[in-house]
């Protein structure tokens, strides 16, 4: 898919959060995680989300991934409102359009690395031979072909994270969502993973990554700052240093989850 066809209808953004709010709990226990967020991520765009703890970063990501539903507003992926989809169609959207990288990998321990990567495609009914070939190609792309037959419990954290990223990328997904994807990696491996995400965006996908590391956020085209459930600032093509300054301005301490 090319940059010139950003969505299914060819014009809109790949991800569109339209005045999205999310309230957890009720009454006295009510927590406003998001208070009306508007955000568009175009094809080929790599967006980083930063913000202090409790600012709503992870909620934003789970809503974008269709893992949770907004209280008000709507989430559109490739022009399709996720709220209007049946559970079956939503599941299909998750395995065909959206790739999700969790902070602590969430690999299925009973499946090998190759099987974990092939999982969304296999769930989609693609033949075993094709999915295996795709999985091996994804492992190759991430530089870990030797892990194909290994089980998650036999891999290091960094290896697991790369497998998780491969699982999110396989099958030409248009939207990649990543929650602190480099948290468990050393700087070299972390940079390599960001390189893969960058390359995927250059190839036409849209990506949104939650991070607390200004250096990693500098790989993004745009950095969005969240605080108390609202987007309070945006920066384009900034260096790590200027992002550090912005981050310090928007929160005393920026953490991985929010």
């Amino acid at each position: 898919m090319s940059k010139s066809s950003p969505s299914r209808n060819g014009t809109g953004p790949v991800l569109h959060l339209d005045h999205v709010t999310r309230v957890h709990g009720r009454g006295a226990a009510e927590v406003h995680a998001l208070r009306g967020v508007d955000l568009r991520v175009q094809a080929g765009e790599f967006v980083a989300v930063m913000g202090p703890s409790g600012s709503g970063k992870s909620t934003l990501l789970t809503l974008a991934g269709g893992l949770d539903a907004p209280t008000t507003g709507q989430v559109l992926v490739e022009g399709v409102a996720l709220g209007g989809l049946s559970r079956k169609k939503l599941a299909a959207a998750r395995r065909r359009s959206i790739g999700y990288v969790f902070q602590d990998y969430n690999l299925i321990p009973a499946l090998t690395a190759a099987e974990n990567i092939a999982l969304p495609r296999e769930l989609d009914g693609v033949s075993g031979r094709v999915t295996r070939r795709e999985a091996l190609a994804a492992l190759e792309e991430l530089g870990i072909p030797e892990l194909a037959g290994r089980y998650p419990d036999d891999m290091s954290g960094g290896q697991q994270q790369r497998v998780a990223i491969a699982r999110a990328l396989v099958g030409d997904r248009r939207l990649v969502l990543a929650d602190e994807p480099t948290g468990a990696l050393d700087s070299t491996n972390g940079e390599a993973v960001l390189g893969v995400l960058r390359a995927r965006c250059d190839a036409g996908a849209a990506a949104m990554m939650v991070t607390h590391e200004p250096r990693h956020a500098s790989w993004a085209d745009r950095v969005v700052f969240l605080r108390d459930g609202l987007i309070v600032d945006e920066g384009f093509g900034r260096s790590a240093e200027s992002l550090q300054t912005m981050a310090a301005r928007h929160g005393n301490r920026i953490e991985a989850t929010g």
């Binding site: 893992l67 902070q103 499946l111 089980y151």
Partner: protein, 914 residues
């Protein structure tokens, strides 16, 4: 371990139990249910065992003693309770009667008693004749007795439970069962057969606390027993049999002694010398030392091996139940230990050794086991208390007291706790062996099953199966049937020991079999692969569930296979003694009542069709001596193979032969035989056996006078008919030969056999008219009762379902995170259900398949043992496919479907996945 760490372990276990409420409830339920059952049974049993004071109250009511004129003219020996048995010793040979015996021989017992116990008040307490009472339902057979229920002395012995005591002439009380059988109500009147002129008004309901099912009519003193006795025919006898109350039919009295006096053991012994037995309140409550009691209760009951049989059965069943519960509860502890592995690792990291970590998991067993056991005992007690009236009525007697035996209940609760500890033992061991780092990082490195366990499993399985099968193969049958232990002979014991060993071997092999199945997962589609690998990875929770299924199915298959095969063999060797569906009436001697019996049977069993009357040919060689005529050459010529005297109907009914030529020959005076070998030329030779030729001499075989008479005969070759008898001959032919005939019964051949209930009724009628009449219906081979097989199959099915579903529920709870991940990467909503269904069916199928394999070992060995014992050829092994299909296919499928139905489809997309 010191107390400090144990306290910590218990504290953690208690809090864990509170946190994982669902899992805790599951274990508590599994422990408490069997405890509830056993505790309830114990309370019922203990409540039924009467204390001496309670027994005294039921026997004596408010009286001081119960005295029976047991054997006037004899001396009696008895124990403290005369109702436990007494022994009458008559006048000794070569000795005259003792003065007491002489005194009691002709005396009026009541007068003698008054004389022996001056000042005592006597209340007659004997039971009377059986009588028939008129009611809307017809005549009701009832026992009769007399009592003045307005006198409080009866309280406790005969309790008035409804209405009022009869206090006017011709009022009576009856038992509840009397009312139920008669359809009468209080306030209505009834008559006793023979006393129709004086109807009795029923005013109250009474009950014997230890015989609630008794049908009894209780009249006021003097109004029933004497008048009934006066009208009764001489043949009517009072009920016989050793009653545990006043001995039926013998005069008995409740005694009130003058204030301040008691009847001690010496007094009882004195009464014994006059032929009385006595149960005295004073003696029963303060029994004499055994040395002073000459009567020893004879233990005719040679049931000691039986008792040990029962003990073995009860022990085996209890042991199996314990094992099943431990195996079923095991997975819950395994999952608990897995979910808290980080916490356990932290204990390790903080300096806890393996023992401490195991103690935490075992602590869960202790906490949950204790709660389960206490809950079970409490619920059991409450349940018995709530349902007490119902239990008493079902059991037929009132409790003496509510029998809470602390040592019993404590022991039952203790077994419950031990079961829970047993269930937690393996998970505790596994948790203790887990490395601290693996626990802290949450890694689950799957270790291959221990090689030692695998090797031990193979050795146990092979050697066990070999012992079971070879022991039988090399046995020559000697010692067969001689009980060595618990009523079982050596061969059966060897078979049982061998198959138990084989089963233990399979149990040890379960983990490696599961691991092997896990390896096959790669060839399966995603759902099967995930389910199989998950089961294989978490052997700790899968193996006990599979083992539980295996044990239950093995038992069901073994019994099913053995029963089906031995039934098939019995069916193959079964020889009917008359045509199938035939109804035979047999009498040993001629009786004028025979026509009446025949008519009664035809009335009770309509549609019997044509009747064939049978006779036996009799040879009389002197006025008082006769013998049955036999057929020469008939080796099996006893009973059914004898020559039958009768007409064509006998051919039809007793031999199922319809042959016009034969009927013609029979009518023409010829004999009809079914086996050519019985003929000499074309004649049938009748043998007439007479008296001894000479008086029998010691050491010499006596010679009898045997005469032979050839008669004309025709042959109808019919091997089946030949089995029923040698042949048929006409009455006229026999009388023509100077012989006589004696009726021996009748045979009918209806198209379908009459049903069992009607047959029982007809049999009872026949018995009443002519006690020697025997009614028999040839129903062909009847398989053994399949109740045990059905019960075991049902039990196995329940365990398969329960075990598979519990393990699946635990697996689903355990893999919530994986399922969230699956949903997040786009798995369709139903995948949770699919996974649960496959996993559940997998556990059920694997366990059932192993159980089936295991069930074959004892069944085949026992069948071989049977062959050796019967010196028969090898048995056909009939596989009960229905049972096996049910337990290995249908039930697992059902388990899978249940899992699918009861698993929530929507994935638990946790709010914070990362």
């Amino acid at each position: 371990m010191k107390l400090g760490p144990l306290k910590v372990a218990l504290r953690i276990a208690r809090r864990d139990a509170l946190r994982a409420k669902g899992r805790s409830a599951l274990v508590i339920a599994m422990i408490s249910l069997p405890v509830l059952g056993v505790a309830g049974a114990d309370i019922v049993y203990r409540s039924g065992q009467l204390a001496p004071a309670e027994r005294v109250e039921r026997l004596l009511g408010g009286a001081d003693a119960l005295v029976t004129a047991y054997e006037p003219g004899s001396t009696v020996q008895q124990g403290p309770f005369a109702e436990d048995g007494a022994l009458a010793i008559g006048v000794r040979a070569n000795q005259g009667p003792t003065p007491e015996q002489a005194r009691s021989a002709g005396a009026d017992p009541a007068a003698l008693l008054k004389e022996l116990l001056p000042g005592a008040t006597l209340l007659p307490a004997a039971a009377g004749l059986n009588a028939s009472a008129g009611s809307p339902n017809g005549l009701v057979r009832t026992e009769t007795s007399e009592a003045d229920l307005t006198d409080p002395v009866w309280k406790g012995r005969l309790a008035l439970v409804e209405g009022r005591a009869p206090n006017a002439a011709h009022e009576a009380a009856v038992t509840r069962e009397f009312l139920a059988e008669s359809g009468l109500h209080l306030g209505e009147a009834t008559t006793l057969k023979g006393l129709e002129k004086t109807p009795f008004t029923l005013t109250g309901v009474v009950e014997h606390p230890d015989d609630l099912a008794k049908v009894e009519f209780v009249g006021r003193p003097g109004e029933v027993l004497a008048p009934l006795a006066a009208t009764a025919p001489a043949a009517a006898k009072p009920p016989t049999g050793a009653g545990d109350r006043s001995t039926p039919g013998k005069p008995a009295w409740l005694l009130r002694l003058p204030a301040g006096t008691t009847l001690g053991w010496e007094g009882v012994k004195k009464l014994n010398q006059y032929g009385f037995t006595a149960t005295s309140r004073a003696v029963a409550l303060d029994p004499p030392p055994a040395s002073q009691v000459s009567y020893r209760q004879t233990d005719f009951d040679s049931s000691s091996p039986l008792r040990s049989d029962k003990a073995v059965v009860v022990g085996t069943v209890a042991g199996m139940a314990l094992l099943e519960v431990a195996l079923l509860a095991g997975p819950a502890f395994a999952v608990g230990a897995r979910r808290s592995r980080r916490q356990l690792a932290l204990i390790g990291a903080s300096g806890g050794d393996r023992g401490h970590i195991a103690a935490v998991v075992l602590g869960s067993g202790l906490v949950l086991g204790a709660v389960g056991a206490i809950t079970g005992v409490a619920l059991g007690t409450g349940l018995v208390a709530l349902t007490r009236p119902w239990i008493e009525e079902t059991g037929g007697s009132r409790f003496g007291h509510f029998g809470l035996q602390a040592p019993d209940l404590f022991a039952i609760a203790f077994v419950g706790v031990v079961t829970a500890l047993l269930a937690a033992a393996l998970p505790a061991l596994q948790a203790a062996r887990q490395s601290v780092t693996a626990g802290l990082t949450g890694r689950d490195t799957v270790k291959p099953p221990s090689r030692w366990t695998t090797a031990a499993g193979i050795v146990l399985f092979v050697s066990g199966a070999a012992v079971a099968l070879l022991a039988v193969g090399t046995n020559d049958g000697t010692g067969r049937g001689i009980a060595v232990f618990a009523g079982l002979d050596r061969m059966t014991l060897t078979v049982l020991a061998g198959s138990t060993t084989a089963e233990l071997g399979l149990l040890a092999l379960t983990p490696v079999l599961i691991a092997f199945c896990g390896r096959l997962a790669r060839f399966l589609p995603l759902g099967g692969r995930l389910a199989l690998r998950d089961s294989a990875r978490h052997r700790g929770r899968t193996a006990p569930a599979i083992a539980a299924v295996m044990a239950a199915v093995a038992g069901s298959v073994a019994i099913g296979l053995y029963t089906a095969s031995s039934d098939a063999m019995d069916a193959a060797t079964y020889r009917p003694h008359s045509p199938i569906n035939s109804v035979s009436l047999g009498v040993l001697t001629d009786s004028p009542q025979l026509p009446q019996v025949r008519a009664a049977i035809e009335q009770d069993l309509p549609e019997l069709g044509e009747r064939a009357d049978l006779s036996t040919a009799v040879y009389s060689w002197c006025a008082q001596c006769s013998s049955n005529v036999t057929v020469k050459g008939n080796n099996g010529g006893f009973g059914s193979r004898a020559l039958v005297v009768g007409d064509a109907a006998v051919l039809h009914n007793a031999f199922a032969v319809r042959d016009p030529a034969a009927e013609q020959a029979l009518a023409a005076g010829k004999a009809v035989v079914f086996d050519r070998s019985l003929l000499s030329g074309d004649k049938l030779v009748l043998q007439l056996t007479g008296g001894f030729v000479a008086p029998p001499q010691p050491g010499a075989n006596p010679t009898q006078d045997v005469r032979e008479i050839p008669v004309d005969a025709v042959v109808v070759e019919n091997p089946t008919a030949a089995r029923y008898g040698a042949g048929v001959i006409g009455t006229r032919t026999i009388t023509g030969l100077g012989l006589t005939t004696r009726p021996s019964g009748s045979v009918w051949l209806p198209s379908t056999a009459p049903d069992r209930k009607a047959t029982q009724r007809a049999s009872a009628t026949a018995d009443r008219i002519l006690p020697s009449a025997l009614l028999d219906v040839e129903r062909g081979f009847q398989p053994k009762s399949d109740l045990p097989t059905t019960a075991l199959t049902g039990f196995a099915a329940l365990v398969v379902l329960g075990s598979a579903c519990i393990a699946t529920g635990l697996a689903a709870a355990d893999s919530r995170r994986d399922q969230a991940t699956l949903a997040a990467v786009g798995a369709p909503p139903g995948i949770r259900r699919t996974l649960s269904g496959i996993q559940c069916a997998l556990i059920a199928v694997l366990g059932a398949a192993l159980g089936t394999v295991n069930g074959f070992v004892p069944a085949v060995a026992l069948l071989m043992a049977r062959d050796v014992a019967n010196q028969a050829g090898s048995s056909t092994i009939v596989v009960p496919w229905a049972t096996i299909g049910l337990t290995t296919l249908a039930v697992p499928l059902l388990a899978g479907l249940l899992a699918v139905l009861f698993t929530r489809a929507d994935a638990p997309l946790t709010r914070r996945l990362g």
